[in-house]
């Protein structure tokens, strides 16, 4: 049994401990006022505090703070070039922020340069890149099995079975020996998703999962994201400019505008937002506020 509170993570459950009804009321009151691991009964898996990231000509992320809960599907929307991809690349520390904390499973990787610590934390992530980022020189099979070789102790003899399972999960068959250049954009994204899923990550990050796809493939990718979350209960972060997709699939939607999250709320509340940026974005996306 896993304890629902992060502060008791790793503590072996025994009779009467941890308490089944959550923390004492005083603690609950304190935690509801303070953002952090004890907010209510929810367990925050990824905690971001005062994140700042800038490039030579632009301050992209300004003091961003957000908590992502266990099993949540959190979407970040915003116009192109606003810093959405920068945000998720900071979460997995492909980009180093200027300041701020990124706490994943209790480990702050915000500013660390310890490659081994980063590698350990990255192991719990799957990442779907915008263009798939499949390795050109490897076949589909080798691409999907890549993570198994470097991240797990699974014997080589089992790779074939796992790869077949994951490819079937994303609706692909008989593509093992093809090279990425022989695949369509949609297929590349699906193979990339299978590659991320092969190592059974705890978190999965999607960078523009539906960009450049036709409506049929878009619908399929949307179903895939929901399927993955339902079947494997993975904490998911989706970055997209497709507001329709974000509102349909997410538990919470955040709007990134001018380097800040101007709105973070559940889809129903998001639609009613009075924020000027959100309103404009919804109008441009031709979405009704109802």
């Amino acid at each position: 049994m896993r304890c629902p509170l992060s502060r008791w993570e790793g503590v072996k459950p025994s009779r009467g401990f941890p308490p089944k009804r959550g923390p004492p009321s005083a603690m609950r009151l304190q935690s509801s006022l303070m953002p952090g691991p004890l907010c209510g009964l929810e367990k925050f898996m990824i905690e971001i505090r005062n994140l700042n990231k800038s490039f030579p000509d632009k301050h992209v992320l300004k003091n961003i703070s957000v908590d992502i809960k266990e099993g949540e599907l959190f979407s970040v929307i915003g116009p192109s070039g606003i810093g959405k991809s920068t945000f998720i690349k900071c979460i997995i520390r492909l980009l180093k922020p200027e300041s701020g904390e990124i706490v994943v499973d209790g480990q702050d990787i915000g500013r660390t340069s310890d490659e081994f610590k980063l590698a350990r934390v990255r192991r719990s992530f799957g990442y779907l890149f915008q263009e798939g980022a499949l390795f050109d020189s490897l076949t589909v099979f080798e691409n999907v099995a890549f993570g198994l070789k470097y991240l797990t102790d699974i014997p080589k003899s089992e790779y074939a079975k796992i790869v077949r399972e994951k490819l079937e999960l994303v609706g692909l068959k008989d593509v093992n020996n093809l090279k990425p250049a022989e695949l369509s954009v949609g297929m590349k994204k699906r193979v990339s998703l299978a590659r991320s899923m092969a190592v059974e990550p705890k978190y999965i990050l999607y960078d523009e999962p539906t960009t450049g796809l036709d409506p049929v493939t878009t619908a399929m990718v949307k179903d895939l994201i929901l399927d993955m979350r339902a079947k494997l209960d993975i904490t998911t972060v989706v970055v997209t400019h497709d507001l329709n997709l974000a509102l349909e699939i997410s538990s919470r939607v955040a709007m990134l505008y001018g380097g800040e999250f101007v709105e973070v709320s559940a889809p129903a509340r998001f639609r009613q937002s009075e924020n000027k940026g959100v309103k404009e974005f919804m109008e441009i996306s031709h979405l009704s506020r109802k």
Binding site: I92, G147, V199
Partner: protein, 277 residues
Amino acid sequence: MFGRRPIHLRSYVYFMKHRFTEYVGREFMSLAETMGTVALMLKSVVFWLFRSKFEVREAAKQSVKIGVDSLVVTALTSFFTGMVISLQTGQSSKNLFNEPLYIGTMVAFSMLKELGPVLTSIVVAGRAGAVVTAEIGTMKVTEQIDALYTLGTNPTRYLLVPRYIAFMITLPLLTVFADFIGILGGCIVGVVKLGIPVSVFMEDIYTRIEVADFMHGFIKTFFFAFMIATVSCYKGLNTKGGAEGVGKSTTEAVVTSMVLVMVLDYFISATLVSVGI
């Protein structure tokens, strides 16, 4: 009315002085940044070379690729170089002494000490170095390098270390091959065009060329291989701006490697000569 405004000499000098200082400062900062990045990359290569499980398969694959890619061009280059040295030396010798003297010695000396290592390095830089830069550069702009990080693999371990090892193994071997082919070319011209018997040509080599002469060229190739690998990998990893960026990085890598081969050649030769090799 519309005449040009006069340029005051003092303001012109002031302007030029500041622009010049700014330009020099910027270039100096850029050079320092490059040196720092290269130093960090080398530190990472050394770290992963000894720290991790060695990617034998990848290193073997890269060695075969670099060797096969460059073999034919190396053979052609050194064969014709050997031939032209033999021809020119023979003709000059005939003009001076009325007969071709020391042709074998000249050909072997030039090939083993200078032309073999330098020409092979230039061919490898142009052929395999370009491929390495383009490959890593493409991986960089298509986020494949980032994908490596997310799959628990350090790019230095998976991409750089095998390529360094491949260059360090392949270039010396190719140089030995080029030396042999060059001498063969020289011998053919000597026999066919200059009328020297094969035995005389070979006798020239055996009596006047020492193992140290071969070692002089052979040692240099390790430095060249290291330098070509460093330049190719650095340029590839620092590629920006899509397909255009890949092209730019590749060109820069080849030009830089070729120039550095020449520059390094002098300094290494001077050092080796001073220690008696």
